[in-house]
Symmetry: C2
Subunit: 495 residues, 2 copies
Amino acid sequence: MTYTDHTTEEIEILLLDSVKAFRAYGKMPLKKRAEFMRAIAREIEALGDILLQTAAEETNLTEPRLRNERGRTIFQLISYAEACERGDWLEIKIDTGLPERNPPRQDIRKMLVPIGPVAVFGASNFPFAYSTAGGDTACAFAAGCSVIVKAHPAHAQTSELVASAVLKAAKDTNMPDGIFAHVYGAGTEVGEALVKHPLVKAVGFTGSLAGGRQLFDWASQRKEPIPVFAEMSSINPVFLLPEKLKQSADEIARLYASSITLGVGQFCTNPGLLLGIESEGLDTFVAALGEEIRQTSPGNMLHMGIFKNYVERRANALSQEEVTTVAVAEGDLQLNQGAPTIATVSGEAFLNNPVLHMEVFGPYSLVVRCKDLTEMTQIANHIEGQLTATLMATEADISYHEELVDAIRSICGRFILNSVPTGVEVCQSMHHGGPYPATTDSRFTSVGADGIKRFARPVAYQNWSNDQLPQELKNENTLGIWRTVNDKLSKDPIK
Amino acid sequence: MTYTDHTTEEIEILLLDSVKAFRAYGKMPLKKRAEFMRAIAREIEALGDILLQTAAEETNLTEPRLRNERGRTIFQLISYAEACERGDWLEIKIDTGLPERNPPRQDIRKMLVPIGPVAVFGASNFPFAYSTAGGDTACAFAAGCSVIVKAHPAHAQTSELVASAVLKAAKDTNMPDGIFAHVYGAGTEVGEALVKHPLVKAVGFTGSLAGGRQLFDWASQRKEPIPVFAEMSSINPVFLLPEKLKQSADEIARLYASSITLGVGQFCTNPGLLLGIESEGLDTFVAALGEEIRQTSPGNMLHMGIFKNYVERRANALSQEEVTTVAVAEGDLQLNQGAPTIATVSGEAFLNNPVLHMEVFGPYSLVVRCKDLTEMTQIANHIEGQLTATLMATEADISYHEELVDAIRSICGRFILNSVPTGVEVCQSMHHGGPYPATTDSRFTSVGADGIKRFARPVAYQNWSNDQLPQELKNENTLGIWRTVNDKLSKDPIK
């Protein structure tokens, strides 16, 4: 099935509806927003197997993987709905009036309010969890914003099905018309029209560095710049420290072979860079990892574009000076199948060749052989921002390498010890973000309920009487929200 | 006294020191940061009258006003130091491991960490409180960042004195060399070099729209874009609702004459736009306001540049079609003195003329006579983002004008009822920010301890053992910080 691109005129009409819906929806009680989000979760589930089958056809993802991802999507909607109702994210700060002070202090009460209509661009590798009704959309609805999704062209039909579920949920819970719109655009025109439109107030995006940067540039060049939350590019470096490698090279190799090949390497947290210091332990590790990788089977990639990209970028990386191929999966290869691949290079060659720092999206990882700790630290200080960085280290490794550990922390959003970066838990403590180019705004997360705050801004009410304040700010605190009152956190009513 | 501009080579050296200092300082306990900040407050006070005299000579601000501002600066340093130690701003979220869950959940603990060296551009109208050791610098130090201040050319000697106090405090509290640097630049080159330098990770600015937008554009065009917190342009509209105006036109006129002329109108929260609906009440108000303004005395402006700007922009506004001058202060006018001025225009003419929406920095305010409520609402929906908006209204006015009230809230960062926008309280509930062009990032405040969060980003630690975690994230919670543990806010240790 093919879909016709929306025209700028159609987008104009949709946005006028969206801003009207935003004005009504943004004022609705948190409870109503949560009901709407739970209804979306139910409607997605109610789509049943047809949703999984459609997505499987469009994305080549396996049915168990998609079933799992659908579960994650539903969990996100429900858990962000809970967070929305709990209201901690409103960051309420209240300073009550001090009429007898000289000069008198007026009563001031601050809370987050929704930012406006949000444009969401879904991810090709997560047709449910980070697409149409995925994390960005769920966060925007929780924040009180209306949403316009541009369907990902690689799974437009799946997107259309999910959109129908959102629209049904909106109708069933009496949401204003225009709270959700779904547009098609195979080229860049529709995206450009959305990001540049004065009525759009924020953008959520998951995808490539080139795509995310383009949206960011458009948004920054507007007369009124708007925030873009683009989750883009990360090679998720893994630092293998000497003692740890000496103790468990084989075990780490098995762990990482499985992380590198998980989902045919098509995760933003795929470990694409493994760094060790020249040693017997590193030799053992590389040999064992090569052995594991040779025995894996190539898997179907999301679509031909991603496959082609993988083949080309891998070839480009492997053709760089001093890069040696360690292992390629040996299974029979069919068209569209990405073969897991490991290569290796010296620390010096890596440091001097920016091509090797670029993401090869797929089951590929480069082992960098640093000549010593100084070189490894130099690399940690040199590479770009990352979603995650991982340290494979014993306690002694950590205490001996403080400078290295600090350098690694400074480039990442999530800092993992003795585990793998793949697998992103949906919980409040999660930070799925990181310094550029991992994202365009390192201060915000796209996974976990804290992502709601991306689509809100503070407003302080000064000198309003209790009757006139929004529910959340009234003395009574009937919603039982944690609030900072005169510098003290409390759920108590104000007397 | 004149100061030579710093060269790019000198800036390069200062930044290398700054990043080295950042690495050490960012790891220091919150208590040490707070000690440093309190020492700065003491050293500023210890500068004594020479500081006030120097500032008075450079800025034309009166000594009582400067004494007051010095008090505010010291209060900011001390209260942000307290907030820093309290640690709530770290937004700690902890989800403890669930090893028996399928799949197991690893322990994840998130906190804010400092973002990196911060470049601060001070304000001409606040030589202490929003300059060298002002709000931006205090917030950056609390967040754990090193700071480079570009001295404001209009009060470079004052800046130099304050910088000496910061450096003395740094020495006395054993801070790393380079934690604070002070540079001069009369032209734009130094600012450009700072904002474009890869080692600078955030920018704080208070000043004009043109200046702030330029910094934002440079920062957005970097290979690695960085956040710019520019507080720029606001005309702080005041909406005079019919019943309120009928009841207290004279009283409101007196209140606003005093707010418009406070500090010769040189506050970012100066009310430059007053909107009413054609009525007897509005006529009374305009007549009374005109009378008050005629009786005020012109005052010395900050410097000749600001004065010249005021005279030119005011003349430009007054020369616009349909604009009528209501009153100009009658006192004898000397060079560099800004004469308080009130003009008036119809709602229709205002709506169609963007020139009238621009800030005239100084004691000038435009009264817009709307023909009806619809036109007033149209204007509220039409004007640009503002630091503040004020509603002068009775309870009945508010309940009758819901759409208007919503529209006003959507354009401002602080929403005031029956008071004046001038006077910005330093407290947690304050939001000094607002949609563009009031600021470049409506999600953050430049006044109040929440401003600390501008200079920090989250990092999630996954699977670390208690011994290896930073103090703030350890089970024991010896610092007594409020933390969200498994979705519940608590100060308790984790068992």
